[in-house]
Symmetry: D2
Subunit: 419 residues, 4 copies
């Protein structure tokens, strides 16, 4: 359906050619300062056209809060939000070749098979405009996570075509074992990312390579895909619900719901499947003393390495959560395409107008928004449990922490394995 | 939570050391023949120990239907299922080193952070035994899908470590453009897969390479990961709910909820992000005449290539749905590991007993089961819509199929792009 | 939360003083003709002020469809709807006595306890304006039910204060055994109901009595409650999901979610609890031949009496579903009220302006709307099951219908009872 | 479906004639002491046969915890529970007259219409055995509520047939204005209720009247209905989610899901609809000083009267929540009944064996159990919000509590009304 989340629940509406697009966000914590100014920046980063990134006064896609706040403070009631469509008039049938051909690798055909009605825009809600509601809702989630826990969410372009920020090597089949990568995700922020327009890859050298390849495909009237890496810092521990709603499962669901996505990897990802357990395992170490300005405290232990991507057994362990998302080459290309029409006979389809040869840079804020929604919902599930637990009478110690035998006598601790 | 699906809803329970594990499956269509004999084969394929695969009489993990059937026919009411645990007695505290060390890359630490209670088994529901409920429920879903639509679901090992069945090449960065791969997923069945014990990779040559590498890691007291490819044939069109519950998003959710998974790719996957749109797009062609023995009819169009993996705009198009799932190296290894204990001081942890150096072959039926659950839930959502639609008065033609202009006069059709 | 339904899912937003109120309706069947003209009539019936009922051109509360239709046909995608608020400006704090006193039996105090934020309107979403979204969504559900199954939903005022349309008697403690009542619910339509302005009680005599009592309470600056009866005709059989989502449970949930409701009774209701089983049981009879213009056929059997209110074992049996809903006297009265303020000291609260002494007549379309939403969601749940079932191979006869022994040999059939 | 609750989620399975009945309870707070001994007492109170009430050693319906606890402490993971059926063998078809007649006012006919399969037990999950899972799960909820908040839930028989504990009078059309009733619900406990076997009505005089009427109907081979009143004390404030999941809506849903229920009233109920607003409104008063042994504190204000039944605007205000539930006369009676068979021809149905002439006393623990489930789910929803709110930076005062003008200068405060 058009709803994401159980506790922090976002419901969106809107096609390309209707009156408006928007959403209702239910479950927003009451008493949080919130105005359109908290939401608009990500809306603007999401706009098509790379120049939009640096233009401070983009008057398009203005979000308008309908309900749920008063005097700039959330009431705890649902927040309605709306963005007007500019091109509201559905096209007439008959004078448009989209009526004859389902566009290859678009949603025209599948929407018709699903609903039995052909929207004039072809793919109905598969339009990129549908992501507006996600970004608006994500900005609210993100504000809460930042204020309550100091959570920071930053995404950036990791590859375009075969050009990678961190090219896999035999030594590092996954970036998760690469110190440079780990250093980057520890420090990167959105300002740095946006300084690398138009590709949003935080490296002078790599972004040059990527720009070049995008231009090549553009010139060929072709398109190209790529990947986005996203890191979430200061994630509280304990997020993710066994066994079907593991945190990585929710993140995967969130990311694969973004149009044009082809894959998701958590932590070491597919590359990590090539690494031996002896290297892949993340040993525990005592967590560094925290400056503790944010939230309800950080965990006592952390991991020395982070191949797990901050999630173990489906639950966040307090380390950085990071993941990759793959985006396919845009289906709309300038080249003529041989394809069958709705009447089952072959023909040639040619797209006119300007097309984006690569959606990856523009997907960056959408990935961040969906990450915020996924984490926020998991946070509220865990908050319910934490408060429920806190009201129960205390138990005797359930973990004997002070045995200390293993270290003292030099013996290795031994564990058994269950299947 | 421990529930998967909205219409076909599976709820599971059980840890390693409790009395039993099991599930309740709600929403099973009434009037389907069903006994334990329909469920046990996948339960047996899931059992640990490769020899189990070929042993016909494995008396362990016998599933017992509690409710929801009479005289071998489903009533439409919830089906309760139960499998006894053999090792029911939780270990006493104090005489086990698992009380002192959270195992690296296991769930011991995160379960403690989440629940504030340490189960004797360490990771609570992160145990592999939890997957029993998934496999039992998946077998029911699968039976319905096969009977109603002729759906076939087959998974197999695609790589272990760096050994691939189809090694990516510059020409084929993704197997989805490789005719050999496409041919394989068109024909493969479970009998063939199981003939390649112990690795379940359907290629004499590749399975040799994989066996060898597994043995190497076993001998080193180490472990290794790999990937599973799964194909679903005869998928009805129209599955997947825009915009958050796209079919690939539900599949990704399902797969990343399996223990030890690191990534998910649909169709061309991450490799497809390196391929130009002009190659990646799947042109439509008229579907071949169908022998039509199954279900409510197949679509009029199909695609010439299938980089989409049978899903476009989040909705199934009738072509084979296929995807890859990455599994990390098992966290339990024989080697000693330096790590911090619950008391924040370092020590050495060593696992005793026998460990599985690679979970990939055994994950094959679990992947199939979760695929069945994901497809089944999407099927029932779409069935509700189809029947709702069928009762409405007919509309005038909403798609002008007979224009035919583009082909007739040789002009290319032109489309505009929305953002 | 602000969401009702699983398959036909309505999410609403909006307080009294925000920009707009509205809703998103997800799961609307595609291919149905739908414009604002289908929705506005019930919106207008819901407007405050009895004169509104007869005024054909009420320009207030105009609903505006944002998405989900094209050329007046539903696309199957979410339908966004919006109604502007006229009084958008929240009141300033400090110069309003509502800042000092939580109004007795209003939601001011409980909203503050729940959210910790005091909205200027006091009770946040407890405002009657919140029901706008329900009525808009209900009109869509109702249109589908009418077109697909010929469902008719009609509500009317059954009592105000102690004045009843059918006063309970020792012979008829419940109207369900009263032939006059059964005749009324068989024929009543909205046009008849609206002809009895201002009380909407379909009886010249009873509506006179009711009008009189409302005037008395109005003159005393007091208020009075009453009850609404609603009948749903042509309900398909098989609606309602055992065991927690029985049809009467869903209707009760729907009705008790309407502001100011105090009770719900299905069929014979509380009065039926005084009637012996020998009278209360509804014997089966062969259903009359149907004129069969609508939908997928009516059941072969019906009941001779209908104390069950069309629901047995939580599932509709095809007979009229009918129920009563109780509404309390409005909490806002002209009289001065002694009550404690937020500062815990006593004071006197006096409401200024005009108040409605009785909400019952205006609640009539709201009850109908919620009934439509409840039935619609149950219909789609059952449609999914019906279509799922229809694709399975046929079974041997599971009910031996032709034994005929009991009738033939004059023996009474004997059954055993389970506990 | 067979699931109740969102945060504290109960899923049940089981018919009369299958292997077992049971449930999975997900979302149980971790770290709570829990064994079968916490659950069995309510299971035993639910058993048929009034003598069971006083028999300490009833070995039937023993509940067995399958998972989710270790060493008597909840782990936070799902708790599986199971109770064996004694009569596991479904009856053969053909030699039972239940195959020929759908029993009047039973679920035989509607189950067949819904599922298209006739279970040998006739009504499938409509059997009273289905309530076992509710009672088992309710006992867990109740234990948490008592430990965390001191919540007390007590139900009792309020009427049988026309015999009432508090007969409505012109002065008190609702018991909510009757001081004797208010005194009773302030003090009643289960021990007192159970001392009034067999009817569970806490009054020597009324229980005599009720016993007599039950005997009369039994002797006539007939049956009779009645009502149960339930009170919940020490309910935290802030429970209930606007606007569709108001606390009374959830309670109504819960109660009407119990087999044989016909109605639900909150607080003053239907009788309250006859009372003027000036009497029905509950003025606020300063709450009495609390002994404060339990939970997170009680509210500063309470109400002088409690016609609201502890709920205003759909949200609990801290006063006692109380409600009535109506139960119909049991459908199974000894008298012969004329009714149509599945083959549409008339016949005579006669039940053999012993039948319960009145289910009301036995429904008492089931009402308590469903109340516990409803309150528990609402508690966890509110706990999530409370904790989420607590981590936000503090706001400036949003309610000016100290103005004091109204009281000081003797002016009445004036409020305006929104529609």
């Amino acid at each position: 359906m058009s709803t994401f989340g159980t506790h922090f629940r976002v419901t969106t509406y809107g096609e390309s050619h209707c009156l408006s697009v928007g959403c209702i966000v239910d479950g927003v914590p009451p008493g949080m300062r919130l105005t359109e100014a908290d939401i608009q920046p990500q809306m603007t980063r999401r706009r098509p056209g790379q120049s939009a990134i640096t233009t401070p006064r983009n008057e398009k896609d203005r979000v308008e809060i309908q309900s749920g706040t008063e005097f700039g403070i959330t009431l705890g009631t649902p927040i309605g939000m709306r963005v007007m469509n500019e091109n509201q008039r559905p096209k007439d049938y008959g004078n448009n070749t989209m009526d004859r051909f389902p566009r290859p690798s678009h949603a025209d055909w599948t929407y018709l098979e699903k609903y039995g009605v052909k929207a004039s825009s072809g793919g109905g809600r598969s339009s990129a405009r549908e992501t507006i509601g996600r970004v608006a809702a994500g900005a609210i989630a993100e504000k809460y996570l930042r204020e309550a826990y100091g959570v920071e969410i930053v995404a950036f372009t990791a590859s375009i075509g075969k050009e990678y920020l961190f090219t896999p090597t035999p030594e590092h089949p996954t970036a998760s074992t690469n110190p440079e990568f780990l250093d980057l995700i520890d420090k990167i922020d959105r300002k740095i990312v946006d300084s690398f327009v138009p590709v949003r890859c935080p490296s002078e050298e790599a972004s040059k390579r990527m720009e070049k390849i995008v231009e090549e495909y553009r010139d060929r009237q072709d398109s190209i895909g790529g990947t986005v890496t996203c890191v979430i810092r200061n994630v509280p521990t304990g997020l993710g619900e066994p066994c079907f709603d593991k945190l990585e499962a929710i993140l995967a669901h969130a990311m694969l719901s973004i149009p044009a996505t082809k894959g998701f990897e958590i932590g070491s990802g597919f590359g990590g499947c090539q690494v031996p357990g002896s290297i892949h395992n993340d040993p525990f170490i005592k967590a560094p003393a925290q400056n503790g300005t944010h939230g309800p405290g950080r965990p006592r232990l952390t991991t020395k390495t982070n191949n797990s991507g901050g999630i173990q057994g489906g639950i966040s362990n307090g380390a950085h959560v990071y993941f990759n998302v793959g985006f396919k080459p845009p289906a709309t290309i300038g080249q003529a395409q041989q394809t069958a029409g709705y009447d089952e006979t072959d023909g040639v389809l040619e797209a006119k107008g300007r097309h984006d040869p690569c959606v990856v840079p523009r997907a960056v804020p959408i990935v961040e928004s969906m990450a915020a929604l996924a984490i926020m919902d998991a946070v509220m599930a865990q908050q319910s449990r934490q408060m429920a637990r806190s009201l129960l009478p205390p138990l005797d110690q359930t973990v004997p922490l002070t045995g200390g035998g293993a270290q003292a006598n030099g013996e290795g601790a031994k564990v058994e394995v269950d299947r």
